[in-house]
């Protein structure tokens, strides 16, 4: 069994899983707290449409994924800010439109392309060295942004208007958060797949949410849960020969339900909070 971990591909996939798990779960804290769950789900589908277009036209898929992802979050944020439309409605429209585009692009391809499906369902075991460097580079960028602006991001997640009223550039921070979400989704797509990447953003932070009342602790718990479940998911995937994406996500979901059951918040919360 331990032989498995001496293979290069296995080491690469474990490293990719750890990085993606850590990244998604750190960004996820702000997504969960600011109530942007649906935005992330929409972004991953938009990014997948970018990948499909890339393979169709022979353009770099990752670049187009970033372009599509960023366009989606920025349009969404702009629409919310203008008060034109509720966030869930505008995202719902963009989500289905980009998915329609993705299906169209795939339909236009002359031959079956396994790599496109790799982005849809995730294939961490086939991560290449180049992809690993891209994940590492973009991941560092995203984590750097989060670390630099963590206090503002926490504040706008808590209450954007109060943040703005106390002199924090809240609108710019909101768009920065949207950008970070889009980049994270794109970086993680190859590992867990466009369909499941959002679980990696949502579940570790939601699990941590059950366990603590402190923002700082919440973030650390979320990252620990994200890294652990990703790495363990890849190991399960390799040992029992099951797809890696579902292994990671189902493991994380199990942790989530356990945390709900044993949440200290549930036990300690006063029955009537005035």
């Amino acid at each position: 069994m331990l032989d498995l971990f001496t293979y290069d591909f296995m080491q690469r996939s474990l490293l990719a899983a750890a990085m993606v798990g850590g990244l998604c779960s750190a960004v996820g804290v702000f997504v969960v707290l600011r109530g942007l769950a649906f935005v992330g789900a929409g972004t991953s589908h938009a990014a997948f449409a970018g990948v499909a277009l890339g393979y169709l036209m022979g353009w770099p898929p990752l670049g187009l994924a970033i372009l599509f992802g960023l366009a989606t979050v920025w349009i969404t944020g702009w629409m919310e800010e203008r008060g034109r439309m509720k966030l869930d409605v505008s995202i719902g429209i963009l989500y289905t439109t980009t998915m329609a585009l993705a299906i169209l692009f795939i339909g236009l391809m002359k031959a079956y392309n396994a790599e496109v499906y790799g982005y849809l369902f995730g294939s961490v075991l086939s991560v290449t060295g180049d992809e690993l460097r891209t994940i590492g580079g973009l991941g560092l960028l995203v984590l750097g942004v989060i670390l630099l602006f963590s206090k503002e991001l926490y504040f706008i997640a808590f209450d954007q208007e109060m943040a703005e009223a106390s002199g924090v550039p809240a609108r710019r921070m909101f768009f920065l958060l949207l950008t970070v979400i889009a980049l994270t989704v794109v970086v993680s797509m190859k590992t867990v797949g466009a369909i499941l990447v959002f679980a990696m953003i949502l579940i570790p932070a939601s699990t941590a949410y059950q366990l603590t009342h402190s923002l700082t602790t919440l973030t650390w718990y979320s990252v620990a849960i994200g890294v652990t479940t990703s790495v363990a998911g890849v190991m399960i995937s390799a040992l029992w020969d099951v797809p890696s994406g579902p292994a990671i996500v189902l493991l994380a979901t199990t942790m989530f339900f356990l945390s709900v059951l044993f949440s200290p918040k549930r036990i300690n919360r006063p029955l009537l909070s005035a």
């Binding site: 707290l33 630099l148 602006f149 206090k151 503002e152 926490y154 504040f155 808590f158 209450d159 208007e161 109060m162 943040a163 703005e164 009223a165 106390s166 002199g167 924090v168 550039p169 949410y209 603590t212 009342h213 402190s214 923002l215 700082t216 919440l218 300690n268 919360r269 006063p270 909070s273 005035a274």
Partner: protein, 264 residues
């Protein structure tokens, strides 16, 4: 009491709202440093708009607004960090996973600016703010575990941590029981006196504040009256604004029933 100090908030024939919807019209009002001002008026009278204007979140459609030495004819004012703001209850998610000290520390973020980490000094300021509202022993408690009145104290401490010149409170007593309401208003009065803060308190409850404020501002889209409580709380003035919702039970006791308390 209002002294001859210079005015720090000045509305000059200012109109606020969105094109087609005017929330406040032609307001001329000047508030001096160190005053305790109560802002009253029925629902939809523009009280919250006044609040957003003072926070620099809304620019006047017509007229001018000066806050400190800043002309707020357009947004992006830099005065915001100097105004400590307590939003209406219900605006903020009170079960957000945050401790009391973490909440109060957020008051430092605007003044600190981007890319700066809070230092020991900032923690000290936050702890001092908690001491002012009598909540220092709860520093590590979860915000969601506190009672409504305690949460309100923590939010006031967050505003104080900004080391503001002005404390702006939007309906600070709504949703609290009567004893807690009194405690919160007493705390505000105490802070006004001890820290020499200018206080702008928006409320439905005239009776609660009439004996404590230096000045009342009566709004209903327009400015109906402004001055010492005794001059503003006259039946003929109040009847213009509140109409039949005004009930005067006694020569000393006024009860203004608001629309949402009223059973039609």
């Amino acid at each position: 009491m209002s002294n001859s100090e210079s005015s720090i908030i000045q509305f000059e024939r200012a109109t606020f709202g969105f094109p087609g919807i005017i929330a406040l019209k032609d307001i001329t009002l000047s508030i001096s440093a160190g005053q305790f001002v109560g802002v009253i008026g029925p629902n939809g009278s523009g009280k919250t708009t006044l609040c957003r204007a003072v926070l620099g979140l809304m620019a006047p459609l017509e007229g001018h607004l000066h806050i400190f030495d800043c002309a707020c004819d357009e947004l992006r004012c830099h005065h915001r960090a100097q105004i400590g703001y307590l939003p209406q209850k219900g605006v903020v998610d009170r079960n957000f996973p945050v401790t009391v000290l973490e909440t109060v520390m957020m008051g430092r973020y605007g003044a600190l600016g981007l890319l700066k980490r809070p230092s020991g000094k900032d923690r000290e300021i936050a702890m001092e703010a908690l001491a002012h509202v009598g909540m220092e022993s709860h520093r590590d408690t979860a915000l969601g575990h506190l009672s409504g009145g305690q949460q309100q104290r923590v939010f006031i401490a967050r505003a104080l941590a900004q080391q503001p010149k002005v404390l702006l409170l939007d309906e600070p007593t709504t949703g609290l029981d009567i004893t807690t309401q009194h405690n919160v208003i007493e705390l505000v009065q105490h802070l006004h006196e001890e820290l020499k803060l200018t206080v702008l308190l928006i409320t439905h409850d005239i009776n609660m504040i009439r004996s404590r404020v230096d000045r009342l501002v009566l709004l209903k889209t327009r400015l109906y009256a402004s001055g010492p409580p005794a001059d503003v709380l006259k039946p003929d003035i109040l009847r213009q604004v509140y109409g039949k919702d005004l009930v005067i039970t006694d020569k000393d006791l006024l009860i203004v029933e608001d629309y949402h308390h009223h059973h039609h």
